[in-house]
Amino acid sequence: MTKRLRTSLALVLVLALAAGFAGVAGCTPAKTATPAAPAVATPVKGGTLNFYIGEPAVIDPIDGQESEGIQVINQVFDSLVDFDPLTSKIKPAVAESWKPNADATVWTFKLKKGTKFHNGRVVVAGDFKYAWERIALGSNASTISYHLAPVKGFDEMQAGTATELSGVKAIDDNTLEVTLQYPFADFEYVVGHPALAPVPKEEVEKDSKAFLEKPIGNGPFMMTEPWTHQQGIKLAAFKDYYGDKSFVDGVNFKIYKDDEAAFTDYKQGNLDFATIATGQIKATVKQYGESPDGYTMNPGKQVILGSELSTYYIWINTQDATTKNADLRKAMASAINAQAICDVVYEGTRVPASGPIPAGIVGYQKNAWPNNSYDVARAKQLLTKAGFPGGAGLPEIELAFNVGRGHEKVMQLIQADLAAVGIKVKLNGQPWETYSSEWLKVKDGKFANSDTHQLMRLGWLADYPIMDNFLYPMFNSKSGDNKSLYVNPDVDAMLKTARETTDAAKRVKLYQDVEKKIGEDQPLIALVNYRHVRVGSDRLHDLVFSPMGLAALDKAWLSKAAK
């Protein structure tokens, strides 16, 4: 091996240039035959699954916020409830049953008996109370405390005037009672967030720094050694797990700095799950096959392109002198060709959105907003109805966005689309650092620094697969995330009613009605939804990567156990 390597080394300088040409040739996919998946594949046990992630910020649930850390937390910890990775439907996890009172202000969770932490201790209701208080306590500076904002006593914990979440009570070891500050019938989804899992107090108090590097949870996989920063996180199947045992022996989260490096390593055969590098989607689909449902990976159907629970959109200020005209807002929504944006800028990594709520959310309605689709004739009609036929008499409108990440190109396409129907738009690009935290800051129903904002780009990523997670923060008149300054007492009332409705089917229907109602005012233009752009190895079976971006690794298996 040494000698051979040395020979290859000698070729380095000579071949460095030749490699350039090899690179060009490398763009066309090799004609490797994709192995046909057997009709019914029986899961095989064993093997270690190599999974690509970026360096997480934190893998302790206290800051379980960004996608990479959550991926790990989701394997190491189990919350009260879980979501089906394909349908997003809620299902039991540590809690075996739960029910709200009549107006959804008091929730009682019954815990399964004898579920264990990785240190062997049995999980009790008090562990949830401890974990949640750790997150809610202001001096702990958790970035995810907002999940617990509905819980009674949260504000006092944040302010530092209380050290206990008064709304959370461990009635006995297997009963957890949660009292909320206001009715919230979707609260059962909130407690499914991976970071709201129980935490063993004794481990944190023994050494909180060690817990940060090697958290001890109650999930299907446990950490076997502390996190090797910038390199990897190793997990092994937890033998005493209360649920179905995983097929694989372990998971090796391999940490990469960017998608390109990971994709190169995938190409060399060292990863079972990777992100497809920029510009490689078509070739990768051709070579490895596309998953029919967009979320499940199997040999020969290795590429998943399902949509994610996030929307990229343009807020429209509903209180600005010009853009308060609803017909004008609808005209703009009709004039933008979102498909072209997906094709030109994103090379198919996004899909056009027809409303604020993406597919994958429970209650998603296709074409929820009738005017949120490309139709130039309708756009012109609406513009005339708005009082500006062909754009005559319409002042120039400002479109603000944060620069970078390809936003400029999207904004230029929008500018051109709007100009085509007679709406003149000037672009205002700003650095993200100040755009989000200062420029778009809304306080008491007004922009904190100016009232001239008209169109503003932003995106929204769901924490839970529920419509409320979009509709309430974005369109409630009191919300700081409502950048269109949209005030509609009907919508406020409907949202309140929906939050108080404990019957799940009825509630979803109510949210669907609210979504349609908001669509009549068009306070924003939904542009595109993000898509998964991931690929699995040819030995990986039945891996579901949910619309929320969480991998169900305990249900996946590898055909060749040894590697």
Binding site: M1, L5, S8, L9, V12, L13, A16, L17, A18, A19, A22, G23, G26, A30, E55, A57, V58, I62, D63, Q65, E66, G138, S139, N140, A141, T143, Y146, Q158, A159, G160, K209, L212, H229, Q230, Q231, Y256, K257, D258, E260, A261, A262, T264, D265, K267, Q268, N270, P431, W432, E433, T434, S436, S437, E438, V442, K443, L458, G459, S479, G480, D481
Partner: protein, 321 residues
């Protein structure tokens, strides 16, 4: 000499103070709220923001924050990352050895191949080797580092494997299939590539100049063998600019190599500092820069001391001026 070293070490103190003040001012002047950066596109209530600011000590007046920082620094405490909740010192203790490993490997390549090629092309002027060195160094200098890295990955990692040839690992520092040294080959060559070309060119031109000097002619006239002339009289006198360049380059490599680290997924400090700037994770940026400044000052000192050995006319501590 000792007096000189002591004086140089003492000079580091004001430089340090200057660096910390500059960095502190930058954290205030550069737009972007570290807390908002951690929250993504989500809105925060003022109460939430205030409680996080308080927990991170950002609510105190600036001079007090700076004073606290200096006090902690004097105890060797670089603070804690606002994003990762980890001590800054342990972040760099994890990553710095990897940066040093890569930098040393690259410097060895630079010294052996760069100086070697420079000498050969100078003493065999206008030969085939000289043309080869001149040509290949021109190409290397003009190649973007990341492109060279990507092409080498494609050829020696992916294509060689497809063709059934022995291949190299494409990324990472360790793996089950390869010994650690195999992982170092491509990143160190890529990191060394441009500098090696420069070293070869500097070496060639310096040696050519020295070889025209009178004392070389004298040495040749008194009957010394050609190799003795080159090694004892030529090379030693031609070395100072080369050593200066290699010293500066080592300092640069010890500050991390963002491109090489990214292409080869090498867990070094360059990418860490870069990411921390983007995230406005100021404690990490400050800690990283302070460590880098310290290392670079030490390397510069060593380079200056080495001059005295290379050229006896250079003396330190004489206090002539």
């Amino acid at each position: 000499m000792l007096k000189y070293i002591v004086r140089r070490v003492l000079q580091m103190v004001p430089v340090f103070l200057g660096v910390t003040i500059l960095l502190f001012v930058l954290t205030v002047v550069i737009p972007g709220d570290p807390i908002a950066m951690r929250m993504g596109e989500r809105n925060m209530t003022d109460a939430q923001r205030a409680s996080i600011r308080k927990a991170l000590g950002l609510d105190k007046p600036l001079y007090q924050q700076y004073g606290d920082y200096l006090v902690r620094l004097s105890k060797g405490d670089l603070g804690e990352s606002s994003r990762a909740r980890r001590p800054v010192l342990s972040i760099f203790a994890d990553l710095y050895p990897n940066t040093i490993r890569l930098a040393l490997a690259a410097i060895v390549i630079e010294i052996i191949i760069g100086i070697g090629a420079g000498i050969i092309s100078a003493i065999k002027r206008y030969s085939f080797m000289d043309v080869l060195v001149t040509l290949s160094t021109s190409i290397l200098v003009s190649l973007p580092v990341f492109w060279l890295g990507l092409m080498m990955q494609l050829l020696f990692g992916i294509k060689f494997k497809e063709w059934g040839l022995p291949y190299l690992p494409v990324v990472n520092m360790t793996s089950d299939q390869f010994p650690p040294w195999a992982h170092m080959i491509m990143p160190s060559i890529v990191l060394a590539s441009v500098s090696t070309a420069y070293v070869a060119r500097i070496m060639r031109s310096q040696l050519l100049e020295v070889m025209n000097q009178d004392y070389i002619r004298t040495a040749q006239a008194k009957g010394l063998s050609p190799s003795a002339v080159i090694w004892k009289h030529g090379l030693k006198n031609a070395m100072i600019p080369v050593v200066t360049f290699i010293g500066l380059d080592l300092g640069a490599m010890m500050s991390g190599a963002i491109l090489t680290e990214t292409v080869f997924n090498w867990p070094g400090i360059g990418y860490m500092v870069y990411q921390s700037i983007l995230q406005r994770d100021w404690p990490v940026v400050m800690g990283g820069v302070i460590i880098i400044v310290f290392v670079v000052m030490i390397i510069n000192l060593l380079v200056d001391i080495s001059y005295a050995f290379l050229d006896p006319r250079i003396r330190y501590g004489a206090e002539s001026s």
